[in-house]
């Protein structure tokens, strides 16, 4: 199966829908052809040869020439992340296990030659037997193996989904960290300038030594916070590069400068528990694993009374030249081993899978409720800082600057007021970052990736 995407110039926009298509394909397609990934011009590729590596590399290079936004970061990760490739290789293992389990039992040929002790000739026997139970249960075993493989595919699709979400989250974290570092730089510069101005007042003999020292401490504290913010930005950058699988490239990642603006509404109308239970891939994988267990235990139970039945044909040539032929059959009598242990193990395995599914359901409910609350909370915080606190802080700066101009206040008042306003802007950026992280959290909880796709870049949303 091959998935192709339209013109290159539209890839950035189309990538996200393609990703979802692939997810559904991974989860639902009966016959997974690994090479289909390598031919995909879109978001995700299971690279299984050097040609595929090169193709992915070219696409990653293209994506990295522009500024990375959340969608592009997700695309790069899906193409370049070695973690995802490792997950795909797990899928290869699962597929092999499926092929093994879905194969019919081979017929047996037996041949015997026995010689009379007196040298009076030999008896030659040969026969062909087939495990009939194995053959009769083949469709059931095949179905169980398919279900098992579907579970593995769901897990792989979940990994794709999670990587895409993590890449977006890492990008938003980096955008915020770099913006905050820049604001910390401005904050620290104002602190340094206030300290310098204080030095001039001290040199002129116009302020007290300890007032001067107060400005020094404010300056040093501001510088320290800038240092800390710088390291956080570096950490965020390295984390993103690592996650995307592009760490070690010569050119640093170019990041879109601002977080996306706070949208007017949250697209959460479809985020119901029922929809999440239907949509979540980890849940689907757990369901499929449980179902496969049930199928396997069903086979064991169904063959309990006739655990093994072999039928065949035998021919025999007697030493005297007589030829005999006829059917053969062998039936296992479940006198001592009625598959009780096997069935018990199967039952336990199935119950285990069901209990795990039950536990998973609790996770889903918790995740969904928490993420819904986190999103509303982050929106409120972002709005508070952005539309209320920050404008008020800027008015305070303006008032201080105006009163400084009328010599109603000294120079430190407007500078300190501006520093406080910068602190408010930092909180505003952090809250907006938390909003987008909450969107990703909700997307993960609900399994609805539409929650994070194609958000518009910021247009002067933050000053």
């Amino acid at each position: 199966m091959t998935v192709t995407v339209g013109g290159l110039d539209r890839r950035a926009r189309l990538s996200a829908p393609v990703l979802v298509t692939l997810c559904s394909v991974l989860a639902g397609c009966a016959h997974l052809e690994p090479e289909s990934f390598s031919q995909a011009a879109g978001a995700v590729a299971w690279r299984q040869d050097s040609a595929a590596d090169k193709a992915a590399q070219r696409r990653v290079d293209e994506l990295l020439t522009g500024e990375l936004d959340a969608d592009r970061a997700a695309q790069v990760a899906l193409l370049a992340s070695p973690d995802l490739q490792a997950h795909f290789e797990k899928l290869g293992v699962a597929r092999a296990q499926y092929l093994e389990a879905a194969a019919a039992p081979n017929p047996l040929i037996d041949w015997q030659r026995r010689t009379l002790a007196d040298g009076g000739g030999a008896r030659v026997e040969w026969g062909l037997t087939q495990n009939l139970i194995g053959l009769l249960t083949l469709p059931m075993r095949r179905a169980a193996a398919e279900t098992e493989l579907a579970g593995a595919r769901s897990e792989a699709a979940r990994d794709v989904e999670h990587l895409a979400l993590e890449a977006r989250s890492a990008l938003w974290t980096l955008q915020a960290a770099e913006r905050i570092a820049e604001l910390r730089r401005q904050h620290a510069e104002l602190g340094r300038l206030a300290f310098e101005v204080a030095g001039r007042y001290r040199d002129a003999g116009n302020i007290k030594a300890f007032d001067f020292e107060a400005e020094r401490t404010l300056h040093l504290e501001a510088r320290d916070r800038f240092d800390a913010a710088t390291l956080e930005a570096l950490e965020a950058r390295l984390s993103l590069s690592r996650l995307l699988g592009v760490l070690g490239r010569d050119t640093p990642l170019r990041i879109a400068g601002r977080l996306p603006a706070l949208p007017a509404d949250d697209p959460v109308t479809n985020v119901t528990e029922a929809a999440a239970l239907e949509r979540r891939l980890d849940l689907r994988a757990a369901r499929q694993r449980a179902e496969a267990s049930l199928q396997r235990v069903g086979i064991a139970r169904g063959t309990r009374l006739v655990p093994a039945l072999e039928v065949g044909a035998a021919r025999e040539k007697e030493p005297n030249g007589e030829r005999l032929s006829g059917p053969t059959a062998a039936l296992e009598l479940p006198l001592f081993d009625a598959r009780t242990a096997q069935i018990a193990a199967g039952d336990a395995e199935a119950r285990l899978a069901l209990r795990e599914l039950e536990a998973k359901l609790l996770d889903v409910r918790r995740d969904l409720r928490l993420a819904t609350a986190a999103l509303a909370n982050a929106r409120r915080r972002a709005q508070t800082w952005q539309t209320e606190v920050l404008p008020a802080r800027l008015k305070i700066v303006d008032g201080n600057a105006r009163e400084f101009f009328y010599m109603l206040r000294g120079p430190f008042d407007p500078m300190h007021a501006k520093q406080v306003a910068i602190e408010a802007e930092i909180e505003s950026v952090a809250a907006l970052r938390d909003y987008w992280l909450a969107r990703a959290q909700l997307a993960r909880a609900s399994g609805d990736l539409a929650l994070v796709r194609g958000e518009e870049p910021a247009k002067g949303a933050t000053p």
């Binding site: 007042y201 002129a204 009328y406 500078m415």
Partner: protein
């Protein structure tokens, strides 16, 4: 309303009330033809008082009693264009209109309280029956909101008096409740040609606020003549040779050494009446203590623009910060461009002095703060006047025909200071 209109109304009323003829008084607002020395037989009637930026309160004559009506109320008040507050006053202004009457008059004064709290009126310095003295709780019940009280008494002496509340006085003074009460003498033995009246007051209006703060005790920021600050205060227009009286009353929390340029004056009266000539002496600065009225008189002999102001230099300024780090001598201008990256328009001031401040505020280098005035204002013919608060100009001119503002004085050639060198090492 212009000074001329006010003069017309009050002069007529005054003359009617005094029962005196109008001979020799000249037209309304016009300068009297000449000043005749007072004689016992033909005393000139007193000229009406000119309350700078203000007016006198009209009255009705009823059976020989002059009836006035004061309405205590909240008002909108402007110190100078650009600064407005909610104040309390009488009949629409702070100070309230000047009450003018004549020694011997019987006056009946209705007081209607439209304030949110009770009030009274105390007739400062007037000798009257104890029950008319207006101390709330002591001499009378307070006048509750919506109520009207009437005061009635006979004016037994002349001079400059005041009226103000004696109820919640701290708040009501801070809010502007005060007025002048001028009692002209029945026999005008000390006639003047110009009779100005000024109420001195202080205000705590924090920049960006719109109501005086009554909790402030000493650190006031606006200093007013009749509720106005320089340069919004009327000038005193005088013809050379005229005799001038300036009545000053102080309802502020500070004493004010009032200084006149261009003339020597005598303090001729207090709020207890005329001072005997033997106790008067020449001076150029008269201290007007808190809770007092002081009358000064002088002959305007020298033409020119003569400053008249409180000699406390902070009282000839408008609002300014008193807790700011002292910028004098601080070299910091080189840092301005860096700071301006964060605070657009940032511009340090005061290294060489604060005169530059008016240049900046006049040229509006920066957005101005809300509802406050620059600390230094005023333009003269030779540049910035760099003042505010308690300051105005006595304009003495030869041959004036009206009391319209004659503009700035043009000094005759050779009578004005001039630059002779720009060399700091100049030696005469």
């Amino acid at each position: 309303m212009s000074e001329r209109d006010e003069t017309k109304v009050n002069r007529r009323q005054l003359l009617l009330a005094a029962g005196a003829g109008a001979a020799g008084a000249g037209g309304a607002g016009a300068v009297a033809a000449g000043r005749s020395a007072p004689t016992g037989d033909a005393l000139r009637p007193p000229v009406p008082v000119v309350t700078l930026n203000g007016r006198s309160l009209p009255y009705k004559l009823k059976s020989g009693v002059k009836e006035f009506h004061l309405i205590a109320e909240e008002i909108e008040h402007e110190f100078a264009p650009g600064t407005r507050i909610k104040a309390w006053g009488y009949n629409g202004s702070t100070p309230g209109p000047t009450i003018e009457a004549v020694e011997g008059d019987r006056v009946r004064i209705y007081v209607t309280n439209k304030l949110p709290e009770h009030t009274t009126v105390h007739w400062h310095g007037i000798l009257l029956p104890n029950g008319m003295d207006g101390v709330g709780g002591l001499n009378q019940p307070q006048i509750k909101p919506g109520e009207t009280y009437v005061y009635e008494f006979t004016l037994r002496e002349s001079g400059t008096r005041m009226y103000h509340p004696h109820a919640d006085e701290m708040v009501q003074s801070a809010m502007g409740m005060m007025g002048l009460f001028v009692i002209h003498p029945r026999e005008n033995r000390h006639a003047v040609d110009r009779d100005f009246a000024i109420m001195l007051h202080n205000w705590a209006v924090h920049p960006g606020t719109y109501r005086p703060d009554p909790s402030v005790m000493t650190d006031f920021n606006l200093w007013t003549f009749n509720g106005k600050v320089f340069p919004a205060i009327d000038h005193m227009i005088v013809r050379t040779g005229q005799r001038v009286r300036i009545r000053m009353a102080n309802m502020s929390m500070h004493d004010h050494p009032m200084h006149l340029h261009g003339a020597h004056f005598k303090v001729v009266g207090t709020d207890a009446g005329r001072i005997p000539e033997s106790a008067q002496w020449l001076m150029t600065t008269a201290l007007v203590p808190v809770g007092t009225t002081i009358d000064i008189e002088f002959d305007a002999k020298l033409p020119g623009d003569w400053a008249f102001h409180c000699h406390k230099s902070h009282h000839t300024m408008n609002a300014m910060g008193h807790d700011i780090p002292n910028p004098l001598g601080v070299k910091q201008r080189d840092l301005d461009p860096q700071i301006a990256k964060h605070l657009p328009g940032y511009f340090s001031m005061g290294e060489q002095g604060m005169a530059e401040h008016q240049v900046h505020t006049d040229m509006a280098f920066h957005d101005t703060p809300e509802n406050t005035l620059p600390m230094a204002m005023g333009q003269g013919p030779f540049g910035n006047l760099e003042m505010g608060g308690m300051m105005t100009i006595v304009k003495v001119r030869d041959g004036l025909r009206t009391y319209e503002d004659p503009g700035y004085y043009s000094a005759p050639a050779g009578t004005r200071a001039r630059r002779v060198s720009a060399d700091p090492d100049f030696k005469p």
